[in-house]
Amino acid sequence: MYDHQTRSLWSHITGEAIQGPLTGMQLKPLASMPQIAWNTWQLNYPETQVLSVPTRDGMREGINQDVYADYHASQRAGVSGMEYTDNRLPNKSLVIGVQVPAKHGNTQFRAYPLTHFTETAVINDTPNDMPLLIFHDKKSFATAVFNRNVAGDARTFSHQDRHFVEDNTGTRWNLVTGEAVSGKDEGARLERLPAINIYWFAWARYHPETSIYR
């Protein structure tokens, strides 16, 4: 990416300016749902606004075709001529990439392969002494990473149905919104952390020191 004001170049993966007057500056990564089925998003955020773009055929909110469908279905990886040699996972494996907040010492990077989410939608993990909840629903492709701390306690979550999960206090949570929908903490909200769905080769290239959840 470049910015219009200084024409510095920025990495869209790390948010860091890598060339030009602003080199070394860092954009703050923000939390999003990186790829979620429209009906699941709309159900949870009915007041949502939807991007609409002018085209030859008028304003459109979407197109029915993914121009990268062949690429996604193929084994091709990366820019021509580049080699990706971190063979800990196949290049085109999809992972959830997480920058683990630095509680003690350095920020860490951790990859959660989507293959872990075939039987369950939640992983309770504690990298860097940070209690994290990793959520991925294979049907809606909803992905979210939350801090497991609720009112000072690290909760443990187990999978119930789709995007609803229960913690060890019996509180039931909607993990699309991060909100407790019943139980003693009803109305509480989990802290959502930045996360991306990304191919392994790209994540490993930008963060070679990354660990992998096994």
Binding site: M1, Q35, I36, W38, T48, V50, S52, G62, D66, V67
Partner: protein
């Protein structure tokens, strides 16, 4: 994430329209320039419709963001041709990138 070689191939028509003065070669040992600036036009003045007015298939993948009670959704397939939306959501200046 996407493959920039593919972007090159898919957007050849766009590239051929970009004027020469827009082209800045930032290539060095670590960075290779593959496309001129704005060959993939970012969205700088986004427009929105309500959820009810949006014509999207139920299973269309979107990027969803919500800040301070305001939520925006962006079709991923639509963002293939733009890659960046400069937006304001809940009072926050954000760049949604794909």
């Amino acid at each position: 994430m996407k493959n920039y070689m593919l972007i090159l191939i898919l957007l050849l028509a766009t590239i051929s329209c970009a004027s020469a003065e827009d082209y800045e070669d930032y290539s060095d040992d670590e960075i290779r320039t593959l496309l001129p600036f704005d060959a993939i036009p970012a969205i700088t003045d986004p427009q929105f419709v309500s959820a009810g007015a949006a014509k999207l298939d139920v299973d269309t993948p979107v990027i969803g963001v919500t800040f301070n009670g305001e939520s925006h959704a962006y079709s991923v397939y639509l963002l293939n041709g733009h890659e960046i939306v400069n937006d304001v959501v809940g009072g926050m200046n954000i760049a949604t990138t794909w």
